[in-house]
């Protein structure tokens, strides 16, 4: 499994391709990418993280996902710093023998990254900047696991 936390942009499809190339026995690959949307005049998205905690926290989430869904492999890449509209914030990739586990593994990773990885988003607009509030729906999403 691989976890990359970086400020720099990355090519998600190059990363997905490299991830896929080194796996044996997968019948199903799922990728998710999160992208900065320009809703409501957003100009930049600032992402802060707790560097000493984000790596161990996400490592633990990935290990849980692997054990629970029998993933053959998983990849998480998450950026921090300032991102522009259209840029890729993060990606997840999972590989499993069958489709349900690959999908569930990717959704589990996303649900936990949303609410349990120490990242915070601030939306910058022409008229100021506001921290993104955590959504009740994101907390609720954890209950199905």
């Amino acid at each position: 499994m691989q976890l990359i936390l970086q400020e720099a942009a990355f090519d998600q499809w190059l990363q997905a391709s490299a991830f896929a190339a080194q796996i044996n026995g997968a019948g199903a690959l799922v990728t998710f990418s999160g992208i900065v949307r320009g809703d409501g005049g957003l100009s930049q998205l600032e992402i802060e993280h707790y560097a000493q905690m984000s790596r161990p926290a996400i490592d633990a989430i990935m290990q849980q996902a692997q054990a629970r869904f029998g993933l053959l492999d998983a990849l998480v890449i998450h950026r921090f710093g300032r991102l522009s509209v259209g840029e890729t914030i993060m990606m997840v990739a999972t590989a499993a023998p069958h489709r349900k586990d690959a999908f569930d593994g990717a959704e589990f990773l996303m649900d936990y990254l949303k609410s349990r990885a120490p990242f915070w988003k601030k939306e910058h607009r022409a008229d100021g900047a506001t921290w993104v509030d955590a959504k009740a729906a994101d907390e609720d999403a954890l209950k199905r696991w």
Partner: protein
């Protein structure tokens, strides 16, 4: 001495991301009481604990958690990763 770190709007409200605190607090809640008493900025940041999450030595925990042996306590809003 314990290192206290803040993120997102807690960091902004308090005006710094990290401080060293001399404390005898036995739990996170006792540490919060001490921090609140330091100045108005700290008091404002900890005004509503329902909006605050805590990690002790990089592990998510709750306000009842013991501080024995802890090196770093982090306070931050609910996370918005992904």
């Amino acid at each position: 001495m314990i290192t206290v770190v803040y993120f997102a709007w807690l960091r902004e409200r308090i005006g710094q991301g990290r401080e060293m605190v001399q404390t005898q607090a036995k739990t996170v809640a006792e540490l919060v009481d001490q921090l609140r008493a330091m100045d108005d900025y700290h008091a404002a940041a900890f005004a509503d604990l329902r909006a605050v999450r805590v990690a002790v030595d990089q592990e998510l925990t709750d306000f009842d958690a013991a501080l024995a042996g802890a090196k770093e306590v982090a306070f931050f809003p609910p996370m918005t990763g992904g």
